[in-house]
Symmetry: D2
């Protein structure tokens, strides 16, 4: 598995490029960044050089398509999807991810039908670029009633949805926080085949009742109560060889410096990987 | 359009074969029957002869697969689906239909995902036999809360679901009763392309508030308040050339004789087709 | 059916806008033009106004994706496809077409596999805009050996290919010239359902052996030996209500004026529609 | 990886059950057998017990559908496919395989279109039972011209075909003999992801020019010139954990006893697994 970072937990970066270099120096092997943006700012050759010189790969790009609103909004995102796919492909990234909100103001079943068609179109476009699409189930309880009607939030439901969409390049974005908040077990992970996971996220949760855990109040890796060592070991056991990227969503941007936050992140990863015997 | 009958409204038929002959004598051109059963009772050649001699076609067969329960039940129906498709194909019938209950005890979104996959498998099997699959939205209000969670019941939702399933041989079973109970308009029909309709049903509703109309308390064609002339004219205007089959679900089997019920049905069809100018 | 024109047969138009006005004045109801180009030159509102004031619709746009070469070329066309689909949708056009060369320098079976995937991606993108994709089989004999290996050129093969691609918004671009050069019959047309035809082309062939007929040596409508009256009548009989657009490919651009060519085209359409009793 | 056997190389078995027991005693962990037949002869519980007591799994069943002939033959196989899938599922087998003949008397491109649709239907049915479908490319040169037109025979073409079929449960049946006869390299294997391989076969080839190697004149594992150690090591390196089953097609059934043939097979497996460091 590759140690990765998302930008979440690092506040407003003055320079993503500097952050990438620092991540590499701290032993990280992957970053989740906007490939098209990286190319826009640096040019393709510079962007490639930045990654290669630092032995960093892009873990995943985000899906730049609003598939949760109306048809016009959906279509409006397709040009950006083509651009993002081209950029990711040019930089050697083969994963794209999007998250599933666990409730919706639309009718649940009707929205599932609409979303199925839209996600299939996105997956098919990404497939033309050799890119897989990871769907992230989102577990925190408060979001299940945040909008009028329940949608889906468990791993099992998400796998069933993947079966419904029926595109060969779909899988999970598997986030430790959502595994934890949906009551996931080690055994649940051991039932997965590695190719069912497109990408993984890691972060930690405070020691409060799980039903009170908030989506945007996460802790840095290894600073909370999630069994991240078990999470990593199970991923390793099933043969997952992809990226596990830290994603620390917080109510306020962190006040510490990028260097401090990087050291803290490295320390957390060192700890849980060691606990996992990896 | 072809004038058709389903068995609903005729009670327990002593002889489906006799009923078919009588239907033909009464000017009906199509019947919705179990093609495999017809062959099982009569043999293929006799079954074909019965239809040909009476200038009767089979309007549609029912989908013999339980796609609303669990995976085991779904799979258990597949052999019957193959048999039904073979039989329908052998008797020249190219339509198969199933209905969508408007509520479900499962999670609405999760069930939509499961049903999408299952209906696609059924559609693909039917496609191997040149058969289309019609999905019937079901409108009566009491069924929307009959089970724990709302599913879908409008024409628009059903068309969106068809888009999600993404099989080329899908369309609507368009039933006048469900059009009426979902507040459908003539203009809604005029927006359809004829190939979006696999099959149509006709029947009538009592003069009570629409939200009190019960699914299994239907009237014979032309004996109620549904604008069936408008319904037929709109279907004709968009170029629909398929079957419109009467389906009269009632709380108790009718007590009249088959001959009386057939005359009543013929009279209703004559009336509304005449009103429609067809 | 709507009388339509493509630009083929009109040489290098000085002004497509002027040509559209003249087409309308000559009784044509549809033109096959590049919707994105029309908007680029006129702005969206002006382009819409041009069409509306002249009671002209766009019959079909061309597929701006090179799906016959390598993967890089295929991907490179996807941004233009999005742009074309947006433009067509904005101008009310719901048809896009591409042609199938009857031979290929690639391995026939391998190319069929690659093309199946690529056309599906295009169809799915177009479907997001409510646009159907028509595949045109190409009949002239000389093209069947123009490249190293035979591909497909009959209507039946093309319908089977559409079944393989398995996208609900696919159909034929049905061109009278290819119908003629593949030995198509009236009965072949009568076997079609109208929704299997996305778009139609009309033009005529010289009185020479059919195996010597060249793809780019066509005659204006009604000036050759193709049974265009039978072609139109059969299309009408099956319920086709779409566009039939003239496409006259010639070795050299015609030397006559746009006005003369338009009059000739109108005269040909008047003749064959009258012969067809339409 | 699991050591497996097919029946090919063992002649006409008097008792498949006895052969399974002997295979287990000789260190084999998987057998490719007809699951439905095993159940038919033994009953489900006995069949399960036979496998469990011997720590043997079924590697793969064969696809009982004739997808290479006409549509009637294709449909005629579907009931057997349902039965086979039910049986395989009941016995814990999740793989089904079919082979691709490298030439065809049909038009290559047209047959590819037909086959794409038919294989998709099979894959979708198998998917309902949690079973994957492996497609085996077939390399021997003489078969490439055995029928009138070339089809496909390389790994790359087969992967592209899988992309065209677009079912999530498709992959390769990867046979060392076809890898060898198509000039495959270790590096070709290293480009694969393990989930692209549904099943693997192993056998050996005589020391003659590769273009003279015949499909049904194979040698037992380790008795010929194929780099089977390299084959196994590469499969292991990419993370393939499935079955590698011996398949020795010969012009005449072998004359040796089942015990001798089993010992010979075991010896060959021991040798090449040892050479591979596995």
């Amino acid at each position: 598995m590759l140690r990765g970072l998302t930008r979440a937990g690092f506040g407003n970066l003055e320079s993503e490029e500097q952050w990438i270099r620092l991540a590499a120096q701290s032993g990280f092997q992957a970053v989740d960044v906007d490939a098209a943006g990286l190319i826009a700012r640096n040019g393709l050759e510079q962007a490639k050089a930045l990654l290669e010189e630092n032995n960093i790969v892009i873990g995943a790009i985000g899906l730049p398509v609003e598939w949760r609103a109306d048809e016009a909004a959906f279509r409006a995102g397709l040009p950006a999807l083509i651009e993002a796919a081209e950029a990711a492909s040019a930089l050697g990234c083969a994963s794209c991810c999007t998250y599933i909100l666990p409730s919706t103001d639309s009718g649940s079943a009707h929205f599932m039908a609409l979303a199925t068609r839209r996600i299939r179109v996105c997956a098919d476009i990404l497939d033309a670029y050799g890119i897989r699409l990871g769907l992230e189930f989102v577990g925190p309880h408060h979001l299940r009633t945040r909008w009028a009607n329940p949608f889906i939030w468990t791993m099992e439901e998400t796998l069933d949805w993947i079966g419904a969409i029926h595109a060969p390049n779909l899988g999970l974005l598997f986030d430790a926080y959502h595994w934890y908040t949906t009551g996931g077990t080690i055994n649940d992970i051991l039932q997965l085949k590695p190719e069912q996971i497109v990408h993984a996220h890691m972060n930690d949760a405070p020691d409060i009742p799980v039903e009170d855990v908030l989506d945007n109040d996460r802790l840095y890796t290894g600073e909370g109560v999630i069994d991240l060592a078990g999470f990593l070991r199970a991923l390793s056991d099933i043969g997952y060889k992809g990226v596990v990227a830290q994603e620390v969503l917080t109510p306020e941007p962190p006040s510490a410096s990028m260097e401090e936050l990087m050291a803290r992140s490295k320390s957390g990863f060192d700890k849980v990987f060691a606990q996992a015997g990896l």
